[in-house]
């Protein structure tokens, strides 16, 4: 045995993985963030955009770069990272690799809020958020609160089964309400809602990002305490408890942080599907199932992934811009099918 092989064998797998995988994902994330604002449907000159001698108000290239592109790249990075991380957490919480951030009704509540705002809402602007993002956030919180209340009723701690049922019921219930509201909506309002449902990261300015940032920060702070507990929870509740995990608290933090991240992401950019399930699965295939590696890697990779999808969405049919949700679906659908086939083959 060579000395390097012995040295490798003496390092626990998680340390190697953390070093290798997390730094690789971080590199990918930073590279994507740096390169994406440079590309777009219009040719711009970066030197002119960054030229301080040209007054900003007259500098089209600078405005395209700083007002049109940079915010949407940042928004895509935040939303993609949040949805991917929330997907990881929900999958561990529900002990089901097929769970998505939308399984528990968060997105249905957000969609109802958005539709109500579009159909009946006054035009208001509060802390950088306009009616639709505000209403969709409130809607998502309402759905989360109902599911949480149902899952923790009877003071038996957290019942993941009840949570799952409650979430699925919320999805169905809110979807029905959305159809009901549609009857009061006129054509343009219906079209606006449909378009919102397809997802859009073109935030045109930093206001909404700034408003959503504290929510993401709180969610991240909560999720950062979880990876070890998630590993143990995936073995089973009793096993986790027997290894010193405060199961109730871990489940609460997991549920709240993942729901908060999802609610903020959906309010900012609409319900963008597939990110929350492709990225965790892909990463598990690449780096293993240790959540201490999977969670940070999903966060970074998810951000890079959505930035990439948005780049494709805004350049592939220029000047027409596709909704980013279509790109994630086109990539995600076949990937998901392949995953299911692979899993069922593995079972046999």
């Amino acid at each position: 045995m060579t000395s390097s092989a012995t040295a490798l064998a003496a390092t626990p797998p998680v340390r190697r993985a953390l070093l290798r995988s997390v730094s690789a994902c971080a590199l990918l994330f930073l590279a994507t963030l740096a390169l994406a604002p440079l590309a777009g449907s219009t040719q711009i000159s970066l030197s002119r955009a960054l030229d301080p001698t040209v007054p900003f108000a007259a500098n089209t290239d600078a405005q395209i770069f700083f007002i049109a592109r940079l915010p949407r790249v940042l928004a895509a990075a935040l939303v993609g990272g949040a949805l991917a991380a929330a997907g990881v957490v929900f999958q561990a919480l529900l002990r089901n690799p097929l769970a998505t951030p939308f399984t528990l009704g968060v997105s249905a509540g957000a969609s109802l809020g958005a539709m109500l705002a579009i159909t009946f809402g006054p035009a208001i602007s509060l802390i950088g958020l306009t009616t639709v993002p505000l209403a969709s956030f409130i809607g998502s919180i309402a759905a989360v609160a109902i599911v949480y209340a149902l899952a923790t009723a009877r003071h038996r701690g957290f019942s993941t089964n009840v949570m799952l049922l409650a979430g699925v019921t919320m999805n169905a219930f809110f979807s029905a309400l959305i159809l009901f509201v549609q009857y009061f909506a006129d054509m343009s309002q219906t079209m606006r809602t449909v378009r919102w449902l397809m997802g859009n990261v073109d935030v045109a300015g930093y206001g909404s990002i700034a408003a959503a940032l504290p929510l993401f920060a709180v969610a991240l702070a909560g999720a950062a305490t979880l990876p070890r507990a998630l590993n143990l929870l995936s073995l089973g509740r009793d096993q986790a408890e027997a290894r010193g995990v405060n199961v109730l608290r871990a489940q609460q933090i997991a549920f709240i942080s993942a729901s908060l991240a999802t609610g903020a992401a959906v309010s900012l950019a609409g319900p963008i599907g597939f990110v929350g399930i492709i990225v965790p699965h892909l990463l598990r295939l690449l780096v293993g199932s240790d959540h201490r590696v999977v969670l940070p890697c999903s966060l970074l990779f998810g951000g890079a992934f959505l930035v990439g999808c948005d780049l494709v969405a805004r350049t592939i049919l220029a000047p027409i811009e596709l909704p980013v949700g279509i790109i994630t679906a086109v990539i995600g659908g076949p990937f998901f099918l392949w995953l299911l086939i692979r899993r069922s083959e593995g079972r046999e």
């Binding site: 007259a58 405005q63 007002i67 035009a123 054509m187 606006r192 027409i320 811009e321």
Partner: protein, 309 residues
């Protein structure tokens, strides 16, 4: 289904004054007349429906403008013009036509959208005539007026209307000719108080045609679609000199001020820099019907404020 103009015929051979020899003679004179009237009424019966339902607001306006107003018995959920429709029953619209209500009203002609295939089939099965409407440019509006006039027996009214509208449009063209054509961004939808979800007119359709008539250059004239979802980058890249926002509902002056201020996020756009963001409200701006002449006039006023009326 009872045809309104079909005549009921008395059986031949009923005894008339003049005895039995008069009957065959009468039959000989009356028969051809009756036959002629039959054919004529069959033809006329198709040509002049008396119970019309319209699911398309722009065609509703056209129906009233050509003189077929009294024949209209029901309209869509979204009809508001002309004022007479407010007291008419509603039967749904593009996404949710209420077939039961429609049939209960016993129409003999229905105006539907071209995309409502299934509905068309059902109506055919019920032997109700349909007029299929397809969205298009100004030419198509005039063609629809013509078709409506023919189908409802108001060909004269249609011709008059078409002539008046063409005169209006030509007058606008004449007024703006010779003036420099500014680049125009024409929007018909966006999220309130933000620049998200902007829908602009593409190079196809009546809005694009009206911009051209009103002396402007649509910034999206090269896009072969009716609508373009325009992001901030695209608007900055196209550099419109004038931004015109169309709204169906009226706006208060404080609304206008707040919504105009939203554009200050993009000061590099010439229209924003030169304070040429205009809001035009009213259904005439968004309905491709009889009032597009007026719409063109208002657009010309916004695009060329320097021209005196």
């Amino acid at each position: 289904m009872k045809k309104p103009y079909t005549r009921r015929f008395a059986p031949l051979g009923r005894s008339t004054k003049g005895g039995s020899r008069a009957a065959p003679k009468m039959a000989l004179t009356v028969l051809p007349i009756i036959l002629a009237l039959c054919t004529a009424s069959l033809a006329l019966g198709q040509a002049k429906p008396s119970r019309i339902i319209s699911l398309v607001p722009s065609v509703t306006e056209i129906l009233f403008a050509v003189g077929a107003g009294p024949q209209v018995v029901a309209v869509s959920s979204y009809d508001h013009d002309p004022p007479e429709v407010e007291r008419l029953p509603r039967v749904g619209a593009l996404l949710d036509p209420d077939l039961e209500r429609v049939l209960a009203l016993r129409p003999d002609m229905i105006v539907i959208y071209g995309s409502q295939q299934e509905l068309a089939q059902k109506l055919q099965a019920a032997h109700i005539g349909t007029l299929s409407y397809r969205h298009g440019g100004v030419k198509d509006v005039l063609a629809t007026i013509d078709e409506v006039g023919r189908d409802t027996g108001h060909a004269d009214g249609a011709a008059t209307l078409a002539r008046e509208m063409t005169q209006q449009l030509d007058a606008v063209r004449a007024r703006v000719s010779g003036h420099e054509r500014p680049r125009v961004l024409l929007l018909f939808g966006r999220e309130p108080l933000s620049l998200r979800g902007i829908y602009a007119s593409g190079g196809v359709g009546f809005l694009s045609d009206l911009v051209a008539i009103a002396g402007g250059d649509n910034v999206f004239a090269d896009v072969a679609r009716e609508s373009v979802q325009a992001g901030a980058e695209l608007i900055l890249a196209r550099k419109p000199d004038v931004i015109i926002e169309l709204r169906a509902d009226p706006m208060s002056s404080s609304d206008i001020a707040r919504e105009t201020a939203v554009w200050d996020a993009l000061p590099a756009v010439p229209a924003v820099r030169n304070r040429r963001v205009v809001f035009l409200t009213g259904s005439e701006m968004v309905v491709p019907g009889p009032r597009i002449g007026r719409a063109a006039e208002r657009l010309a006023g916004a695009i060329h404020p320097e021209i005196d009326r």
